[in-house]
């Protein structure tokens, strides 16, 4: 089953069309990475899914139920962490989670067990201070806890790692990794290494449309262009190659990056053999999201 199905979603602000027909399917289970540059429209897409923004066109289904703007019943399936979560900072984390449980109508006992469980998970148990003095990382972790409180089927996190330092980012990624057993995770980001670390599925949002989506492993293996790192014995040879092949780019004094284009690796090899160029090493590169992303963005 698809946990979330967006079809032909369009949204404009004034005369600026931000979403030009986004179609996206998030399968149940797993961690879905929603990738796009700053200003691509990730937040806009997520807010429409939550019924916080009114779409100009298109339909959104959450667990096969249509999303309605304003009073959004489908939100009962969703746990949401906004890009900059703001809490009632006069409360302690424990009080805040209790408040969240009460407004969603959870019963008292359940609130207590769930609260303690989640505070433990995000490393805030025993935190008796008010939220007022919390760091970005702590707020982000509390944000995940409040999002998970009602045992949502779908956890939506808007750039949960963007504003954090490496340690904070790792903490968040570990938490997301840990909860994927309980819920489907959809998170947006522009940090590709985060995606490579934990995502099972991805979608690229660019120019108002989703220009690529699918299983991370399939997308990576189905990538057409191959990349090789080539090291020559002599500096001059490296330069010759870079001049001869437009697909070659110098990446060091004697190092080249070869991305297959018009010329394939075989042609390069033939050239090397003909000219008797001495090679120190040839390595096929693991396709990286980075290069994939650049490819998509260039098109």
């Amino acid at each position: 089953m698809e946990m979330l199905q967006i079809t032909n979603l369009k949204k404009r602000f004034g005369d600026k069309e931000v979403l030009k027909g986004v179609t996206l399917a998030v399968p149940e289970g797993g961690v879905f990475g929603f990738i796009g540059k700053n200003g691509a429209g990730k937040t806009t897409t997520m807010k429409t899914v939550l019924g916080l923004l009114k779409p100009d066109e298109g339909t959104i289904l959450v667990a096969d139920e249509p999303v309605v703007y304003g009073q959004t019943a489908t939100n009962r399936y969703i746990g949401y962490l906004p890009d900059v979560p703001e809490f009632y900072d006069f409360m302690t984390p424990s009080e805040y989670l209790t408040f969240c449980g009460e407004i969603t109508g959870m019963d008292k006992k359940d609130i207590v067990t769930r609260r303690e469980e989640l505070l433990e998970l995000v490393g805030l148990s025993g935190e008796k201070h008010r939220i007022k003095g919390f760091s970005r990382g702590m707020k982000q972790r509390l944000g995940i806890a409040q999002a998970l409180l009602g045992r949502p089927k779908l956890l939506i996190c808007d750039e949960p790692t963007s504003a954090l330092d490496p340690v904070g980012r790792k903490e968040i990624l570990d938490i997301l990794q840990a909860v994927k057993e309980q819920t489907t995770v959809l998170f947006s980001t522009h940090i590709l290494s985060d995606v490579e670390r934990i995502c099972t599925d991805i979608a690229f949002l660019h120019d108002g449309v989703v220009c690529m989506q699918g299983k991370l492993s399939e997308i990576k293996s189905g990538k057409r262009t191959e990349e090789y790192r080539i090291e020559t014995e002599r500096e001059a040879d490296a330069r010759t190659l870079a001049e001869k092949f437009s697909e070659c780019a110098l990446s060091g004094e004697r190092q080249l990056l070869f991305r297959e284009g018009k010329a394939t690796i075989f042609e390069l090899m033939r050239f090397l053999a003909d000219k008797e160029i001495e090679i120190a090493g040839v390595e096929r590169m693991e396709p990286s999201l980075e290069s994939l992303f650049m490819e998509v963005v260039k098109k």
């Binding site: 939550l50 019924g51 916080l52 923004l53 009114k54 304003g70 009073q71 959004t72 019943a73 939100n75 009962r76 969703i78 949401y80 906004p82 900059v84 979560p85 703001e86 809490f87 009632y88 006069f90 409360m91 009080e95 408040f99 969240c100 009460e102 407004i103 969603t104 109508g105 409040q146 009602g150």
Partner: protein, 256 residues
């Protein structure tokens, strides 16, 4: 119902922990004490100034003060208290819009109208508690020093003014759901208050304006009768109900 109670509880916690509640209680208490205090001090001030006044040729007769002096002060000062109240609580909605704290509660399924109801309720209770506290203190001092019995229609006239305060509270709610910023709330509330006040300057329309209720001091001396308020009273009550009810669909459709 559970979620409404939870949200209202949160509002109280906020009032308490931000110190607003305490500050409001102190302010209304001070206003309550000020009315009889000013009345009590008036003859003394006149005595102090008597010499210099006589030198400048003014005739000073001994002033007598009674409960009426103090109640007149009450009606003179309560607008100030209302203004302080409005200034302190005008951001009750807007600070949530601006910080984004409502987003999490609303995406959790809290119905938007409950936000309006909870906050309106808190404002009504705060205004009422403050107002009647102020009244009670003035009443207590007055009956200690003088005789409240000389004042006519006391309860009726203070109720009129209390209701006018509720009208202003309704305006705060209404303009809160329509604007994002505090200034919008203040301008809207102030603007409409000024407008209904201007209506009272037109003799024909005056009896219908909620601002008529502000002049209820005239009841104390018998210069006016209760009947003079029988138009403004129901009109104000209806406007209060309509205002809060209109806030709900506006809140439901606003963008967060």
């Amino acid at each position: 119902m559970k979620s409404l109670i939870a949200f209202t509880k949160k509002e109280w916690m906020e009032q308490l922990r931000s110190g607003r509640l305490l500050l409001l209680l102190i302010i209304f208490t001070l206003f309550g004490i000020m009315n009889p205090a000013i009345a009590k001090l008036t003859p003394w001030i006149f005595e102090l100034m008597a010499d210099s006044l006589e030198e400048s040729g003014m005739v000073v007769t001994t002033v007598t003060v009674d409960a009426m002096t103090s109640w007149t002060q009450f009606f003179k000062n309560i607008p100030m208290a209302l203004i302080v109240f409005v200034l302190m609580e005008s951001s009750i909605f807007t600070r949530e819009y601006q910080s984004g704290t409502l987003v999490l509660a609303l995406t959790k399924g809290l119905e938007r109208y409950k936000v309006v109801l909870a906050k309106s309720f808190v404002l009504i209770v705060l205004w009422s508690a403050g107002y009647w506290l102020c009244f009670g203190i003035t009443y207590g001092y007055n009956s200690y020093f003088w005789d409240n019995g000389i004042v006519q229609n006391l309860l009726f006239s203070v109720t009129c003014w209390w209701l006018f305060g509720l009208f202003v509270v309704m305006l705060m709610v209404l303009f809160s759901v329509m604007t994002d910023a505090n200034t919008g709330v203040l301008l809207g509330t102030g603007g409409v208050t000024l407008a209904v006040y201007l209506i009272t300057l037109l003799p024909k329309a005056a009896p219908f304006s909620p601002a008529k209720l502000m002049g209820s001091v005239a009841l104390l001396t018998g210069a006016e009768e209760k009947g003079d308020y029988y138009k403004a009273l129901p009109i104000t009550v209806v406007l209060c109900v309509v205002g809060v009810m209109a806030s709900i669909p506006i809140q439901n459709n606003r963008r967060l």
